[in-house]
């Protein structure tokens, strides 16, 4: 069964992206990625550009509403996602707890929805 870890990061965590990659947070991420791959559970995933680069689109009464920035205006913002192949939610929560963002921000664990995907992709 596949789970997505949705990585919510604080402004401080996003700010580390401007560094040369030698900071502790990025180092922890490198190690975490390695541990996922070595454990044979890594399916995929990507970081997202910083929230300010987001543009939110909505259709209201047939009209496009475009808003600069992310959908929700909260301190912690979606910063990326990782997809893991794991036997259970318990195992997914264990891996989420080890994620560097779990102590610096938050990690939401969501099962992927293959049945919904099938309805769309056929």
């Amino acid at each position: 069964m596949q789970f997505a870890l949705l990585i919510y990061e604080s402004p401080e965590a996003f700010a580390t992206r401007n560094n040369d990659g030698t900071d502790a947070y990025t180092g922890a991420w490198r190690a975490y990625y390695k541990a996922l791959v070595e454990a044979g559970i890594y399916v995929g995933g990507d970081p997202l550009e910083v929230p300010e680069t987001g543009t939110t689109v909505r259709l209201k009464e047939g009209k496009r509403r475009v808003q600069d920035g992310p959908f929700a205006d909260t301190k912690e913002q979606l910063g990326g996602f990782t997809i893991l192949e794991l036997p259970s939610l318990d195992a997914a929560l264990d891996w989420a707890a080890r994620c560097p963002a779990a102590s610096a921000g938050a990690v939401e664990v969501r099962p992927l929805a293959p049945a919904t995907k099938l309805r769309i992709t056929g």
């Binding site: 922890a28 190690a31 541990a35 070595e38 939610l89 929560l93 080890r98």
Partner: protein
């Protein structure tokens, strides 16, 4: 009643609830095997206490008061539950059953039976500790879920399922016979130690949940010792936990940084706790039966000796681990042994022990990678050490440990 009087009444209720919870649940459920109903009845009684006591004053024997109230509530609860399904004779029988639940100030302490029920072989081992925390200590499902890193709903469902099994699965409220006692007792001790382990690992948290759980585990071990004073391993477990607890404040620097055991300032260790641990261990070994927990406590005792001698006798630790591996060859024991060998006989020898561990089993075991990283670093095998450090960092949950390893890796 005045505000402060009410406050003190609330504190009394909290104290009685904490001290008597397990005794009352154990006693109320020992006849019916229905732990969930006993808990519901007790929680009704506690609600009643919250309204009655501040008004009428705290009764002379609060525990007996709660038992009476809970017993009435239990009779109502069980009658409601069974009216739909049960026939008249069953109801009569039920009435008889509950009559046996007598109300006196010195009702028997059935917590030992309850502990054995919680760690019964028919119950999923993963649920032993949560069940104990809930039924004997009265922790709510949400808090247990928090500590065990599962969702509160899931934990709630699992607890309900386990209690249904206790009620309907023919699990007896009894202290096991002598021939099965060692194994059954081991399951109880394991479950208590698991609670301590969770509290121990989580001590980094900003909140106090970790600390609380370690304290709860020590409390459980004290209850168990009170109920089984003749069992050496119970003393062994208590000694082990007290030794660890004694070092709690030394595990973090003033800035919150992680301090490994070998670098801890022994001045910060709690002498009274160490002394109590030593007494426990001495009493345990005078009974002549060695066991896993006594050996683990003995290892911690050697570490504690550094406070007096200024040095760590790694050879002694290594020898205790050798005995421990014979009884309990777990991944944790073997990793600890490797680290001890690394100190006593050199990094090369320690690494050889680690190489003997099945890599599949160790792939997600953080201490294995941390031990490996340190040994490789001592052997100046830099690139292999960096790889092992990365695995250890990637598997670490505690940000302070992660930070410590990142610094060591360089």
């Amino acid at each position: 009643m005045s505000g402060s009087g009410q406050e003190s009444t609330h504190r009394t209720i909290e104290r009685v609830a904490r001290e008597s919870y397990g005794r009352l649940v154990a006693y109320l459920s020992s006849h019916t095997r229905d732990v969930a109903s006993a808990e519901d009845a007790l929680s009704n009684a506690l609600v009643a206490a919250l309204t009655t006591w501040p008004r009428d004053g705290v009764p002379q024997n609060p525990e007996a008061w709660l038992l009476t109230a809970a017993r009435h509530s239990l009779i109502d609860l069980v009658r409601h539950q069974r009216v739909a399904t049960a026939s008249e004779p069953t109801l009569l029988l039920l009435g008889e059953e509950l009559k046996e639940v007598t109300v006196s100030a010195d009702f028997p302490d059935e917590r030992l039976k309850l502990l054995f029920v919680c760690a019964h072989p028919a119950i999923d081992p993963a649920m032993h500790t949560p069940l104990m925390l809930q039924t004997v200590l009265g922790l709510d499902a949400a808090r247990i879920a928090y500590a065990f890193l599962v969702s509160p709903t899931t934990m709630g469902q699992r607890l309900v399922r386990a209690k249904t099994k206790i009620r309907d699965g023919g699990i007896q409220f009894e202290v096991p016979q002598a021939h099965e006692l060692p194994q059954r007792l081991d399951a109880v001790l394991e479950a208590i130690y698991a609670a301590f382990g969770i509290g121990w690992d989580d001590m980094a948290g900003v909140d106090q949940r970790g600390r609380d759980l370690a304290e709860e585990a020590i409390w459980l071990a004290r209850v168990l010792l009170h109920l089984m004073p003749g069992e050496a391993e119970v003393r062994g477990l208590l000694a082990l936990m007290l030794h660890c607890e004694a070092r709690r404040s030394a595990r973090r620097g003033p800035d919150g940084r992680y301090v490994p055991l070998s670098e801890q300032d022994c001045q910060q260790w709690s002498l009274p706790l160490i002394e109590e641990a030593e007494r426990c261990l001495a009493e345990a070994s005078s009974r002549g039966r060695t066991g896993r927990f006594q050996l683990e406590a003995a290892i911690q005792s050697v570490h504690a000796e550094r406070a007096r001698s200024g040095r760590t006798e790694w050879v002694a630790i290594m020898l205790f681990y050798e005995q421990l591996i014979r009884i309990s060859p777990t991944l944790g024991t073997r990793t600890g042994y490797a680290a001890a060998v690394g100190e006593a006989s050199g990094a090369e020898a320690g690494l050889a022990v680690l190489d003997g561990i099945d890599l599949d089993a160790a792939s997600a075991y953080q201490p294995y990678w941390a031990a490996r990283a340190h040994l490789l670093q001592r052997l100046a095998k830099t690139s292999e050490a960096v790889d092992a450090f990365d695995r250890a960092i990637g598997l670490a949950e505690d940000p302070a440990v992660r930070q410590f390893l990142l610094q060591r890796r360089g």
